[in-house]
């Protein structure tokens, strides 16, 4: 099928105002928040599940890739149409369909912004627990595709722990419902398996999520250290004491200073590291845990522990953390956010290793991360106008990940594999293990049209699924 014929069909399915095809319109969809770039042939804005199904079926018939896109805040290239094709943008499927307080569930379309759901149900005493740093912009459909986490997933779990049902469009355009409002369904846990499959098994068109009750009491502490190792040891000390904070975040000294210059959160300028610790629950529980955490910090040589006295102070402490990435943007033309995971007992030695890598590559690397679950976010500063420097930062990132894996960790904790880490997967999985994943993908995505060239390396290439009359790849 020629592109012009496909355009006519897409217009017939979704209407002419829902299909972009001119080069200048498509340029905006070459990007997400990661490093990869590629231009789609079409961007389509479906309004209904049936439209999604018709577009996916058309893509399957014509062998054209189809890639779902929420807000484009992903960091691993999940929404990038690596070999062109159709981008399904969910901006118009952004309704909260149902809030079912009695069952502590909400049913949403994939384009609903993460924070909007929480704000919508907060007057009822609930919120949606997964809170990626991009929650003001990112969509719940994207959260489902990537199995997103966030600072508060330490105690409450990541996206998959909060999804009980999905409506999914399969590669051939079939619409199926998986799971439901119950906490468990008969048969395989297909809902759980689809979450985090990065759009390679189907396209989500409806999501049933758990709503979590807003805690009675919250307390936020800032522990300040002169030695980054003490901060790392405090993390283990707190969890070993039987306390699971709602959030346990760490920032190193370099990041602190960068953030403070931009956000004025009141962070100390001369510290080597801080821990931002949030405790929530029953008032009595939180009060006791605050004392225990303070004592743990003191035992690990914290020079000061500040406790937010009110909500404004609490917001201020978090403001710096949530805007850390934006703050780095002020001082470096580009930065590359890594997403390695390590067992939390290995934090001190891993941070040391990261600084050795930084020195070896003559790069600046800051650290702001989810310490409680060992999910590191080294921020590698570079200038993307220099190809050599870009390559250097990618190499440094890879070395850091290699180290994470060598201490028992993983390539990615919450950003996904996508394009960015696809070719690093053999660091973690054997050929045989990858082959099993490939078999599962091919079972549901036999023509390879759903988000091709992502997640699993070395399977079908773009040449196998695309005929050459579809140009559009820019990188």
């Amino acid at each position: 099928m020629r592109l012009s014929a496909i355009r006519a069909k897409l217009t017939a399915i979704c209407g002419s105002r829902a299909v972009l095809h001119s080069k200048e319109d498509l340029l905006l969809y070459e990007y997400d928040a990661g490093l990869a770039r590629a231009r789609p042939d079409f961007v389509v804005f479906p309004s209904t599940t049936e439209q999604v199904a018709a577009v996916v079926a058309l893509a399957s018939e014509s062998g054209l890739p189809v890639v779902a896109r929420g807000a484009g805040t992903g960091l691993s290239g999940g929404a990038i149409p690596r070999s062109g094709g159709i981008v399904l943008a969910f901006a118009r499927m952004n309704r909260i369909l149902e809030v079912d307080v009695a069952n502590q569930r909400a049913v949403v379309q994939p384009g609903v912004v993460n924070l909007e759901l929480s704000e919508h149900v907060r007057p009822l005493g609930f919120y949606f627990a997964p809170d990626p740093s991009s929650q003001k912009a990112c969509t719940i459909g994207g959260n489902v595709a990537e199995n997103s986490g966030g600072p508060h997933t330490l105690a409450s779990g990541v996206t998959v722990n909060h999804v009980t049902g999905l409506e999914v469009v399969l590669a051939d355009g079939r619409i199926v419902e998986l799971g439901g409002k119950s906490s468990e369904a008969a048969g395989y846990d297909l809902t759980g398996f689809f979450v985090g499959s990065e759009g390679t098994l189907g396209i989500t068109t409806k999501i049933m999520v758990k709503l979590t009750r807003v805690p009675e009491h919250v307390s936020t502490l800032l522990a300040i250290y002169n030695d980054v190792r003490d901060a790392g040891n405090t993390v283990v000390e707190i969890t070993s004491a039987g306390i699971t904070p709602a959030a346990l975040e760490m920032m190193d000294g370099w990041t602190l200073r960068a953030v403070e210059a931009a956000a004025h959160a009141g962070y100390p300028q001369d510290a080597a590291a801080v821990l931002l610790i949030e405790l929530e629950g029953l008032r009595e529980t939180v009060d006791e845990q605050v004392l225990a955490v303070e004592a743990a910090c003191a035992r690990q040589n914290a020079r000061e522990v500040r406790i937010a006295q009110n909500d404004a102070e609490r917001q201020r402490l978090w403001y710096g953390r949530k805007n850390a990435f934006a703050a780095i943007g002020r001082i470096s033309p580009s930065y590359y956010t890594q997403d390695g995971v390590i067992p939390r007992t290995r934090i001190p030695q891993t941070l040391e290793h990261i600084q050795q890598v930084a020195a070896r590559y003559s790069l600046t690397i800051g650290n702001v991360f989810h310490a409680g679950d060992g999910n590191l976010h080294p921020l590698i500063l570079f200038d993307d106008r220099s190809p050599a420097e870009t390559e250097k930062s990618i190499q440094a990132g890879k070395e850091i990940l290699q180290y994470c894996i060598s201490v028992g960790g993983s390539l990615t904790g919450e950003h996904g594999v996508g394009i960015e880490k696809r070719d690093l997967m053999p660091m973690l999985f054997s050929d045989e293990e990858l082959q099993v994943m490939r078999r599962l993908r091919e079972a549901l995505n036999p023509r390879g049209t759903l988000n091709p060239e992502k997640l699993i390396p070395g399977a079908r290439t773009c040449m196998e699924i695309r005929t050459p009359q579809f140009p559009g790849v820019v990188s």
């Binding site: 199926v176 048969g187 060992g374 099993v436």
Partner: protein, 413 residues
């Protein structure tokens, strides 16, 4: 205390006890080549679920896969072989003040004999599901061998990980139809240092549900909240001392925290149990299924929270109409109920009650038959599977067990 285990229905043609993953892979490659059926087997605790696999088959036992792969208490993570029992795992982590929150008393409940492989294959859970969710929420890695002998892996050792497909989710609750689990990793939790259990008794279900609703609207976060039907209470305690419904609520924390629960429940709580009394009460509940008479027909119902009362009423009516007794317990705040129909010498009445329960329960509820006399299994759908999902299940089955040798016939055909 520990009930007799349910074993395989038929004698296996052969028993294989691989010493490791590569041996398991070799056995499965061979069986796949000759299309020999394989029944993966741990302690045999759950072998009665589903249709009995037709002989001849090879029993693939996990009894030699009992290694500890790693355990660093500071990380609150552990990796063990599929043949280790919950009781053994508990003994490992208990000295460090940690637990795997599946059973609160694995040393007393027969479920403590369940192996890690069996735990995952059957998505087994108990009253602690209230606070911790099912095993899907805290299994962080799995290694398994596919039907045709490929060595596969999902997840890893860390608590947060999105590298590759979440194969833990696919394997959990797949009843050994997709692969033979060889080892798994878990997130552990701090063991509560002090607990108390509040016993509430009510003349009717309505009162019990009101207490549940008030609790759910409160900031309280108990470890477990279990509803117990009058028949179940009579069965568990061996005598029908009263005809009422019960709610058991177990909370943990300091004296001040426990006081909050006491204040909240007020007059609703008629007794407070600690220590040995508390352990005895919960191990009875964790043992509920194995304490039932052998002819009981048991269904596991999962439903949205607002349908719990309707499901229990449907069960009660179904039993009354057939003049048989019934017993039900369950997690009233997660919608996971276990309902037993006790038709005695008339098991067909129990089956008829299951049909009636399914017909009158809300459409959102799902009733899976966990136990049923073999002779009656052919007459009723054991699993309530929806066509759309079933098709995807078959597709995955083909992908991971192309010769369909694993637990052939148990789950679906």
């Amino acid at each position: 205390m520990i009930a007799a285990e349910h074993k395989l229905h038929a004698a296996p043609a052969e028993v294989a006890t691989p010493a490791g993953e590569s041996e398991a892979a070799e056995i499965l490659r061979e069986c796949s080549r000759f299309k020999t059926a394989v029944v993966p087997c741990g302690s045999g605790l759950h072998q009665h679920i589903g249709l009995a696999p037709q002989p001849p088959f090879v029993a693939l036992k996990s009894e030699r896969l009992t290694q500890v792969e790693y355990y660093d208490p500071g990380d609150l993570t552990i990796g063990v072989g599929a043949g280790m029992t919950l009781r053994e795992l508990d003994a490992l982590v208990k000295p460090h003040g940690q637990w795997l929150p599946v059973l609160a008393f694995p040393d007393r409940a027969s479920g403590g004999n369940a192996t890690i492989g069996g735990l995952l294959a059957t998505a087994m859970h108990g009253p602690l599901k209230h606070a911790f969710g099912g095993v899907r929420e805290f299994c962080i890695g799995v290694r398994f061998v596919t039907g045709d002998g490929m060595r596969a892996k999902g997840g890893g050792r860390v608590v947060k990980n999105v590298a590759g497909y979440d194969l833990m989710k696919l394997l959990i609750g797949s009843y050994g139809t997709l692969g033979v689990i060889t080892s798994a990793s878990f997130k552990l939790f701090p063991r509560p240092r002090q607990t108390a259990t509040f016993v509430c008794r009510f003349p009717g279900l309505q009162n019990a549900m009101a207490v549940r609703d008030a609790l759910m609207a409160s900031p309280l976060a108990p470890l477990a909240l279990e509803i117990i039907s009058p028949g179940a209470a009579a069965l568990l305690h061996g005598h029908a001392d009263d005809a009422g419904w019960r709610v058991l609520l177990r909370a943990s924390g300091s004296d001040q925290q426990l006081a909050r629960y006491r204040d909240h429940l007020g007059n609703a709580a008629s007794a407070e149990l600690t220590g040995e009394d508390e352990a005895a009460a919960w191990s009875l509940l964790e043992n509920f299924e194995s304490a039932l008479p052998p002819d009981a027909v048991v269904v596991a119902v999962s439903c949205p929270l607002s349908d719990v009362a309707q499901v229990l009423r449907s069960a009660e009516r179904a039993a009354l109409e057939r003049k048989i007794s019934w017993a039900g317990i369950g997690r009233a705040c997660t919608g996971s109920l276990l309902i037993a129909f006790l038709g005695g010498s008339r098991p067909e009445q129990s089956i008829s009650a299951v049909h009636a329960l399914r017909a009158s329960a809300p459409p959102s509820a799902n009733a899976v038959i966990r136990r049923c006399p073999d002779s009656l299994k052919a007459g009723i759908a054991l699993w309530q599977l929806r066509e759309g999902e079933l098709e995807i299940m078959r597709t995955f089955k083909n992908a991971l067990d192309p010769a369909w040798i694993l637990n052939r016939g148990r789950y679906f055909v």
